[in-house]
């Protein structure tokens, strides 16, 4: 009973204390309306604050949008990697590749296309140049992420990709593009037909079975035709029929894509043209096997590095935003010191003085952030168009998530930032504010 009485007494005292602390209770609707009127009344100050918030959320939003796009693009690039690749630094001889494939049976896909080799030759610092197979796609190449990164994808029109047995070299098979299919077989869909490459003997049974047809790749023709044309002439590919009737057909490299599961076509091509020429033989130390785990590790490292560098950039922007807004708000408080005194003199308690300032900044911040985000999205679209002109294709679509993040973070920053001047306003003495003394 005693405890109950004490508790009741404490509750009564607490209520009394709260009543004393709270002062007059204000009808919220009337107060909000008054705050809104106050915001609209001083257009110059509000416009300056508004512009500051628009600019800061715009910069912040662009940074986050770009981060989001490039992060997703990076993920996409890596997701299109084959499982195991060979990494080579320097000029690459296809013979080495073949040797490596022999020595390392678990290499699924091997670097070694003409275009890739060309690229390695031109960019000695580049460490990864894979080309390979992924479900429903033959992925092209990827190069330096920060500049002209991109993955060219060719979707399968007919058939399938290489299966495990083919990748391990147990069966010979090939995937060709539509143009090549038409030239060789007169149809886009020659699945199951056999082909052999030239100067393999007619009796040789190692023919390649067509297992898939891909769409003509836009990247292959436009980007590498010049390089290929320097060496191509024509290459003969024979159609291998059960009757052993061999008819040779010339196809132009500009329009042909011929992937085989052991790259023999390309190796023959290189052997013929470059063996003992420009390319040197690699030593083991110069070519390394790049496993899926390595790939995963590099992927994670790249993502982490990307996140930390971009994260730092975003943090710098946030800190700048906080400092800029704080300075602006503090100046604003100085300018409004008389107003604080007047409001207190005619009955406002400290809580409502704080709320007045925080709500004002919240209202301005709300609209400023929305406008900033809209502008940032527009600018981001311009960047995407410019990127595509520079051939730095972004294959991922912008999402709403960065906008939502920026909206909430920006408004939280504005609210937190407004807390400092609001506290200063709260502490301001009426006599100081009104300069009575």
């Amino acid at each position: 009973m005693k405890v109950q009485l004490h508790m009741k007494l404490m509750l009564v005292k607490l209520k009394e204390y709260k009543n004393k602390r709270n002062g007059p209770k204000i009808t919220h609707g009337m107060f909000f309306k008054h705050v809104a009127t106050s915001v609209l009344s001083n257009r110059t100050r509000v416009l300056l604050t508004f512009l500051g918030i628009v600019i800061s959320s715009l910069v912040f939003c662009i940074a986050v949008l770009r981060f989001d796009l490039q992060y997703k693009q990076l993920q996409l690039n890596y997701s299109n990697y084959p499982q195991n690749v060979v990494v080579a630094k320097g000029k690459l001889n296809p013979v080495d590749i073949i040797n490596f494939k022999t020595n390392f049976s678990d290499i699924n896909v091997i670097v070694g296309r003409l275009d890739t080799i060309g690229y390695i030759e031109e960019n000695k610092n580049l460490s990864v140049c894979p080309i390979g197979v992924k479900e429903n796609f033959l992925s092209g190449y990827i190069y330096d992420f920060s500049n002209n990164g991109g993955v060219y994808l060719s979707s399968l029109a007919y058939g399938r990709s290489f299966n495990d047995a083919e990748i391990k070299g147990l069966e010979s098979s090939a995937i060709i593009n539509k143009t090549t299919a038409k030239i060789l077989f007169g149809t886009e869909n020659p699945l199951g037909m056999l082909v052999r490459v030239d100067y393999e003997s007619a009796t040789q049974t190692n023919a390649y079975k067509i297992i898939g047809v891909i769409d003509d790749s836009f990247g292959m023709q436009s980007d590498y035709s010049d390089y290929i044309n320097q060496y191509k002439d024509n290459i003969n590919i024979g159609i291998y029929t059960p009757e052993q009737n061999i008819s040779n057909k010339s196809i132009n490299y500009d329009f042909s894509i011929f992937y085989t599961n052991n790259l023999s076509l390309e190796s023959i091509f290189y052997n013929e043209k470059y063996i003992d020429g420009e390319y040197k033989l690699f030593t083991n130390s110069e070519i390394s096997f790049f496993s899926f785990k390595d790939h995963e590790k590099q992927y994670n490292e790249s993502l982490e590095s990307f996140k930390s560098s971009y994260g730092t950039f975003v943090i710098v922007i946030i800190i700048s935003e906080i400092i800029a807004l704080n300075i602006f708000m503090l100046f604003s408080i100085k300018e409004r010191i008389e107003e604080i005194g007047i409001r207190k003199a005619i009955g406002s308690n400290n809580f409502y003085i704080m709320m007045q300032f925080m709500l004002e900044y919240f209202i301005i911040g709300l609209f400023g952030t929305i406008i900033g985000i809209l502008c940032a999205n527009f600018i981001n679209q311009v960047f995407i168009v410019v990127d595509s002109i520079k051939d730095a294709y972004i294959f991922v679509a912008p999402s709403m998530t960065p906008n939502i993040i920026v909206f909430f973070v920006s408004n939280s920053i504005i609210l937190l930032t407004s807390l400092i001047p609001a506290l200063i306003a709260r502490k301001t003495q009426i006599t100081d504010a009104l300069r009575f003394i």
Binding site: P24, S38, S41, N349, F436
Partner: protein, 219 residues
């Protein structure tokens, strides 16, 4: 009733008010006159609960303000109305918005618009109800400040040199308003450095005090 007992106020080593004893009865018109630096405004700050004394006691309607730790903001919004020499209006807000603020803080939300319109009409301000205060003349500003002071129907109206920035015509008008409020039962505290005005008010029945070097005496 307001009662000050042995009020002292010092700023650092400087003693501004020294042993002030003052009683202001309900419905009274009290004038406090003094030269610049005599401590008039400091006294008004204490009366208005804008500031705390170094020591002394303040009884408002029988309640010891400092000992009972009453909510000063609540008292300012409901019991006091203020008229300042420099008007202290929110210049960017309209006349109506300025007058409305005390009602918001005192949570008097019934018939707000009607009340404001009636009051502004009574003081001849209905034509400028939606004008921003920064565009008003001195006389108009003081009338708006006066309406703001009385809109909550306060018991006490505290005026700090309300006629200090006004010409003779506008000064007389404000004094007339104050007299009318006194007739309606309000208690008026009128602080001024103008001995002539205070003398005139004394002749009309006001209780007058002179403050000098931090001490107050009835004149």
């Amino acid at each position: 009733m307001i009662k000050l007992v042995n009020i002292h106020k010092a700023f650092g080593k400087k003693i501004v008010l020294s042993g002030i004893n003052l009683e202001i009865n309900e419905g009274e018109f009290v004038c406090i006159v003094g030269n610049s630096g005599a401590g008039k405004s400091t006294l008004l700050n204490l009366l208005a609960l804008f500031d705390l004394p170094t020591f002394g006691e303040y009884f408002l309607d029988g309640t010891n303000v400092y000992k009972n730790n009453i909510d000063r903001a609540k008292v300012r919004s409901s019991t006091f109305g203020f008229v300042f020499q420099t008007f202290h209006l929110l210049e960017e807000l309209t006349v109506a918005e300025n007058v409305k603020i005390p009602l918001i803080y005192a949570n008097k939300n019934a018939d707000v618009e009607t009340r404001i319109n009636n009051m502004l009409g009574k003081f001849g301000l209905d034509s400028i109800i939606n004008t921003k205060c920064k565009y008003l003349s001195g006389g108009e500003k003081q009338r708006v400040a006066f309406v703001r002071a009385v809109i909550n129907n306060p018991k006490y109206i505290l005026c700090d040199e309300p006629t200090g920035n006004l010409d003779n015509k506008n000064s007389q008008e404000i004094i007339q308003f104050l007299k009318e409020e006194q007739k309606n039962g309000k208690t008026i505290v009128f602080i001024s450095h103008d001995f002539k005005t205070v003398e005139e008010l004394k002749n009309e029945g006001a209780t007058t005090y002179e403050i000098n070097a931090g001490q107050i005496k009835r004149i």
